[in-house]
Every structure is written in C-alpha cells, then in structure tokens.
C-alpha cells in the first residue's frame, strides 16, 4: 500500500509520534512533536497538524508536510508551511485534552481512560492525503507502549505491544468531556450519541464521572434527556449534581422530571436552594411539585405522581384515546385509565389493554373492573408495597379524604422504595 512507504511500516499511534524530532529539508533540527491537533465539527477526527515545540514557541504544521526518514525522525518537505499555534484555534489537542483523561465510550456505555490514540494515513495514488484518528486505545496495548517507550527500540516495542490484546473505541463512539463551557461551545461538543442511550445507562455514566464533568455533560444534554437520566441517578448523588448547577439550569431539568421524582429531589435539597429552583420553574409544574412537597416522603402521596390520565365516567374508548394523545407526561408509564365523576371522585379503573381491544364507541365503565384497589394519601409506603404484592398491581390510584383522585403510585416507584430499604 502506498501509504506504508510514506511513514513507517504500520499506522502510527500518538505515543510513537510524540517527542519525535522534526528537521527541515537541510537536516537542521526545527523542534519536536509536542502534540497532535485534531479538528472538530465537519473536520472531526482529521489531524489538522502536528504541534511542534520549537524555539519560537508552539507551531503547527500539516501532517502531510512531513516525511519520515529512515532514522525515525520527521523531515519537513521543502514546501511545508509552519505557522504558530493560536490560542483561538478550535482543535482538540490529543495529548493535552485526551491522553490519560476520562472519556465516555458511548458504544460500551461506560467511562474509560485513554492510554493511546491510534492514527491512520489515507493516501491517494501513493500521495498521502490526510492523517485521521482511527480509534482510541484504552487497553493493555496502549499502556505497554506508553510504559516502555524509550526503554526499548521502537520496532521491538511495537512488536511487543502487538502481542497484547487491543481494547479500542472507534473515534465515532468517543465522547469527549470538556469542562470549560466557553471551550465546549467552541469545540462544538454536543453529546449527540450519548443522548441516544437509555436514561439508566446515562445515569450510570454520570455516577462514574467527577462533579465538574457531570455538570458539563448534564448541561449539554437536552433537558428532557437530562431529566430522565437524573431520575435514575442514586439519590445522594442526585442532590450533589443539582447543587452544582445554576438554579435556572436546574429548574429547566427539574421541570421535565416526573413530578414525584422532582418533589423527592427538591425535598432533599436545602430549603433556600429548592425554593430558588421552584422560583425559576414554570407556574404549572411548580404548583404540582409544591403540592407533592407537602406530603410526607414515606407516604403514598409522597411516592405518587400527579401525571395520570383521568376521564369522565361516561366517556368512551374514543375519548380515552383522545385523552392519551393529549397527555403531556411520560406516556410509557401509563398502564390504566381512571374514571372520575364531576367532583373528581374515583369511580372506575380501566386497564390499557382492554381499551386497545375494544371498539372506539364502547363505554369505558363497562370495560372497567367492578371493584378496584386504591389507597389513602397518608398510607405508609410499606402498606402501598403490600397492596402491590397482594393484588399484583401495576399502578395504584391514591385518594384524598373525600375519595377524590389525587395521584397514582406506579410499580417502579415501589420497586425503587423496596430496593432502597434493603
């Protein structure tokens, strides 16, 4: 292959390139490779140039402008353009920003540390076109290269390193975490792939990150995704995560959370902080959360959500479907529809599956269970869990003193409580 003749027998890695002397065409030492600058945005993964440490400071030269001499050093081509590295350049510097840092392996859904970066030459008709980042090495192979570099001849080391299994993450699955907000915007880090993961997986990843990096990831995620992930995070970490955000950002995320989860979270925060967050919230969501905050945390009302679907007891299947379409909360959590009278008193419960099987004009009250299970708002959560177990419930309506429907406890709330009580 053409590119092999260009720069050694194998594709280079960051470690093998760092520290390599660079001479100009006449053999005079110009400097050493200090870092590798990689483009962002449309140029993502493309090595924009070698960063040289020279007497004049840090300079940038295109990777295609150097040749590898038999001794292993780099030689600048006669036409090479060398320019100073500017502070406003939008580059990820592989050694400074990536090596030894934690990154998110979006494919493996976890946080890993970078040992080395594998690069690859692309050439056209024997002419090197560009150098790209192929994958990030997080396993033993990269570690061996790093540890023994300089202690063994380059060729021997490479042979030795190749004996170790490689653990690599392709560049497109790498998610760089940048803590500095200004630079984050500049580098155009969006965490798009991360946002597509399951919220529980994002939560696991967040738990593995240090505070500043958690904040960096949370604030770049879409509020809805951030909210769903936050709900899945361990309670004591939830609090410290929200504490590190500004009230405005926190309010944006809390608004998108399930009201019962939001209330649980706010109850754990210091009062001044939770008030500041409530202040920033949408009036409607705020009222819902505030109502829930009034209840004891270990009661049915403290565990319930106020997002449920209730229709008049005279409604038909068609009406129920309409109500579901208009539902603003998390639709997947709905397992049954509640029938209420004019004063919000609960009259019946209809499982979703029966609605799916019925004709649109069927009245809901004929589909419902003749007897349904419900509980009082101040019932202890232990009692709630027992009801779920005894009657094999998926959801449990919660009534106030006047038998009015005020909320619903869902199975996952009960599971969370039972697990926390272990």
């Amino acid at each position: 292959m053409a590119h092999k003749a260009h720069n050694g027998d194998v594709d280079p890695s960051l470690t093998t390139m760092l520290g390599t002397p660079v001479t100009n065409a006449s053999g005079q030492l110009r400097g050493r490779v200090r870092d590798l600058a990689v483009g962002t945005g449309v140029d993502a993964g493309k090595v924009a140039g070698l960063v040289l440490k020279t007497r004049r400071g840090l300079e940038l030269v295109a990777a295609t402008s150097v040749l590898q001499t038999p001794s292993g050093a780099f030689e600048l081509r006669p036409e090479a353009e060398v320019r100073p590295l500017r502070p406003d350049d939008n580059f990820i510097l592989l050694r400074q920003d990536l090596l030894d840092r934690q990154i998110i392996d979006v494919h493996g859904r976890k946080v890993v540390r970078v040992n080395d970066v594998d690069l690859q030459w692309f050439s056209h008709n024997g002419d090197p076109q560009d150098l790209r980042v192929r994958e990030v090495e997080v396993g033993l192979r990269g570690a061996v290269r790093r540890l023994l570099k300089g202690a063994l001849p380059a060729q021997t080391l490479e042979t030795l390193a190749r004996r170790f299994p490689a653990r690599v993450i392709p560049w497109e699955f790498v998610d760089v975490i940048e803590v500095d907000p200004a630079r984050r915007v500049k580098l155009n880090i969006e965490h798009e792939r991360l946002a597509q993961l399951h919220p529980s997986d994002i939560a696991d990843i967040l738990e593995d990150l240090p505070a500043a990096e958690r904040e960096a990831v949370l604030t770049t995620l879409d509020e809805e995704v951030a909210a769903e992930a936050l709900e899945e995070v361990e309670p004591h970490l939830q609090v410290s995560m929200v504490e590190s955000l500004t009230s405005e950002v926190a309010a944006g995320i809390v608004e998108e959370m399930d009201p019962s989860a939001a209330a649980d979270l706010l109850a754990e925060l210091p009062e001044s902080r939770s008030e500041a967050i409530l202040e920033e919230m949408d009036p409607e969501e705020r009222q819902e959360v505030e109502e829930l905050l009034e209840f004891r945390e270990d009661s049915a009302a403290g565990r319930m959500t106020t997002e449920y679907v209730a229709v008049p007891q005279t409604a038909t299947v068609g009406d129920a479907i309409q109500a579901l379409r208009g539902f603003e909360g998390d639709i997947e959590t709905i397992t049954e529809i509640y029938l209420v009278d004019e004063t919000e008193v609960l009259k019946g419960v209809v499982p979703l599956a029966r609605i799916v099987l019925a004709k649109p004009e069927t009245r809901l009250d004929v589909l419902g269970e003749p007897r349904f299970i419900s509980c009082e708002a101040d019932a202890h959560q232990q009692e709630v869990a027992e009801l779920f177990d005894k009657y094999n419930l998926r959801a449990l309506p919660v009534l106030n003193n006047d038998a009015k429907l005020v909320g619903v406890v869902e199975a996952d709330h009960v599971i969370a409580f039972l697990r926390s009580g272990r």
Binding site: D100, R113, L237, V239
Partner: protein, 413 residues
C-alpha cells in the same frame, strides 16, 4: 439558639466520616506497637511528639480533603491526568507493595490479639479474612461507613485503659508541652521519636481519604464541615495515641518492664500491673484496630489502583464487570492472611521492609500532592495560600526526611 446548635451538630455528624475514619485507621497494630514501645521504654518522655504530629496530620489530610472536594477526583486520578501513565504505574506499584505489607501487619495483629484469648491463629485469621472480604462485597457504602465509624468509637477502649492505669496526670500533661533536656536524646530515643512520627502519616491514607470524600460527593459548599471532620479525626486519633503511651508509661515503664516485642506484649505485660480490665481493653483495642485496618486497606488499594489505571471498579459492580478490582482485593486479603499463617514467617523482617518502602513512597506522594494543590487550573481559589504553602512544604520536608531516616535506621539494625 438551641435549634441552631442542634442543626449544627446534626450537620457535623452527617459529614463526620472519611476524615475521622482515615485518621483512626492510622492507629493500626503498627502504630499501637510504636506508641506502646514509646511509653514502655521512655515513660512520658515522648508525649511531646503528639502535638506536632497532630498538626502534621491535619495539614496533610486537609489538603487531600480539599483536593477531593474541589476537583471531585481521587488522588490517583489526578496523578494519572496530570503526571502521565508512567509515574502513575510506579506510584501504584509501590503503593500495592506497601499496602500488602500493611495488610500482613493487620492480620498478624488480628492473630496476636485473639491469641491473647487463646484462639489459635489457624482459626482466627481465616475466619476474619472471610469476614473482611464479605464486609465490603456485601455492604454498600453507607452501611460500611457506619460500621467503620462505630469501629472508630471503640478506640475509646484505649482511653479507658489509660485512665485505669492510674498515671500521674500532672507529669503527663507537663511532658506533653515540654521537650525533654538534651541529655535525654540518646541514639535509641531519637530512633523512637522518628518511628512515632514516621508511623503517623502513611501514603495509603492520602489516597483513601481523597477517594472516600469523592465517593461521598461532598460539595464545595460543605467543605468547611469536611475540614472539621479531618481536624476532629486527627485530634481524636492522637488523643488515643497519647493514652496508649500514658497507659504503658504508668505501668510497664514504672515497673521497669522496659522494651516490648510486639503490640500484644503490651497487653500481656499489663495484666499483673494494671489488672484484668486494662488487659482486656488493650487486647480488645488491638483486635478492633487490626480488624478495622484490615477491612479498609485492601479495599482502598483495589479502588485506587483501578481508578488510576482506568479499570472498572466498585463493589456495586459484578465480578465479571470489574475482574481486576475483585482479583486485586481478594489477592490482598487472601495473600495477607496466608502469609500470617506460614509457621515461623519472619514477620519482623517483613514489617521492616514494608516500613522502608513506606519511607520511599511517602515523599513522592506528598510532593505530587503539593504540586497538584498549587495548580490554579485545578484548584482555582482553593489552591494553597502562601502561608499554608510554607507550612505544608515544611511539614512535607520534615515528614519525608524523618521517614527516610527511619528507613535507613531500620536497615542498619
């Protein structure tokens, strides 16, 4: 007013944890032996070291706590990110060796203390090692912390033993604030001074404290409480040490018993002099300290190594998810326990070697810490102030020189 105090106390108790636990684990069998020896050989004449070592302990531990709170990263993470893989691997390798030496020390403490109750080490050590292993694997962070805090409180046994030994309080208090005259400074005395100071700050403590602070998720706003935790822990630990010295001074030294061979010796020798209760308290204290330290060290080592190398870690992961973590943890415990059970194992020689490695590693760790904590880009406004820096470098210098001296001394003897 009352309510405000109550909230304050509650807030403090909520944060009481990492700093208090770390400082207490420092009084492991090795430390207890050194303090007992100091009291048995020189009476009250070494009590003056307690105030400087408390200050040194606070200075070093406070920096770890601060770094943990501000950066949200463990010490091994920071070393890896700022100084590269090569240095990290060297530091971690040394740390594993030193800690393995310490784990052996803790298990021999378990064996010795239960031997006082006529329980053979071939029973006590395997049973305790299984208990230690299960404690971390089966418990979550919160319950483990509660167990550790309770274990810390049991150190009060030594305080009670000190009171039972009926010391001369006046002499003891004066000796605490007065450095003895020059004539007292013999070669052996100096060696013991260095030993007392050298056992106070161990490299593993810095790694352990910073990781637990991070795991607890203490925020910068609550940092003041964490600092209090460190300070209270350091003071309590050294009060315990003070009472160990006093108890041995009032009994063994007064009756001309002289030097002891190991920590359980002190308990044995105390029986005819201070009575059955003092013996029981000393023996129980030693067991508690050994078991406690044996639970903390292997776990902390496994965490620190895996974090620094970027391997999966944590007791909430399954064995197959974090194999390196569990293997290291298991090998440290099983290996430490196995070594203690080898008949006629040269324990003293081994403990000297591990102390020596300690002396090599400690200066490296402290210097790395000081370099990190002065980095404005990491610490921002929480970097060391100029005066704190002077105090910190001075402490680091003295502690490092002393631990190196201790190492040289031990190799000579």
């Amino acid at each position: 007013m009352l309510r405000r105090w109550r909230t304050r106390i509650l807030l403090f108790l909520a944060v009481l944890g990492p700093g208090f636990i770390t400082a207490n684990v420092d009084n492991d069998p090795n430390g207890i032996f050194t303090y007992s020896q100091a009291g048995a050989q020189y009476g009250y004449a070494l009590l003056w070291t307690m105030i400087p070592i408390t200050l040194a302990l606070i200075v070093v531990q406070e920096m770890c706590a601060r770094m943990g709170v501000v950066t949200g990263k463990g010490l091994s993470d920071l070393i890896r990110e700022e100084f590269g893989l090569r240095l990290t691997v060297i530091v971690l390798l040394l740390l594993v060796l030193v800690n393995f030496g310490n784990v052996i020390g803790e298990f021999s403490g378990i064996a010795a203390s239960l031997d006082l109750f006529h329980l053979s080490k071939y029973i006590s050590v395997p049973v305790c090692s299984v208990l230690v292993w299960l404690l971390a694997v089966r418990g979550d962070y919160k319950s483990v912390e509660k167990i550790f805090l309770t274990a810390s409180v049991f150190y009060i046994a030594y305080i009670v033993a000190g009171v039972l030994s009926q010391p001369s309080w006046h002499t003891a208090l004066v000796a605490t604030v007065k450095i003895p005259p020059r004539s007292a400074w013999t070669h052996d005395y100096l060696f013991l001074v260095i030993s007392v100071i050298g056992t106070t700050i161990a490299p593993w403590m810095q790694f352990y404290l910073q990781s637990t602070i991070v795991e607890k998720g203490v925020s910068v706003k609550n940092y003041a409480a964490s600092r209090l935790d460190v300070i209270v822990g350091s003071i309590f630990t050294d009060i315990v040490a003070w009472f160990i010295i006093v108890a041995c001074a009032a009994t063994l030294y007064m009756h001309g018993q002289g030097a002891i061979r190991d920590a359980s010796d002190a308990a044995q020798a105390m029986k005819p002099l201070a009575g059955q209760y003092a013996f029981l308290l000393f023996a129980f204290g030693l067991f508690n300290a050994s078991f406690f330290a044996a639970s903390v060290l292997p776990l902390s080592t496994a965490y620190v190594v895996c974090e620094g190398l970027g391997l999966e870690s944590g007791v909430d992961k399954k064995f197959s998810e974090a194999p390196a973590f569990y293997w290291l943890y298991t090998i440290l415990i099983a290996g430490g326990a196995a070594v203690v059970m080898i008949p006629n194992f040269p324990l003293i020689k081994w403990s000297i070697t591990s102390q020596a490695l300690n002396g090599v590693l400690l200066p490296v760790v402290i210097v790395l810490m000081l370099l990190l904590i002065n980095r404005k880009d990491l610490m921002g406004e929480y970097a060391n102030s100029r005066w704190f820096n002077i105090a910190a470098w001075l402490t680091a210098g003295i502690v490092s020189v002393l631990s190196l001296m201790l190492m040289v001394q031990q190799f000579r003897s």
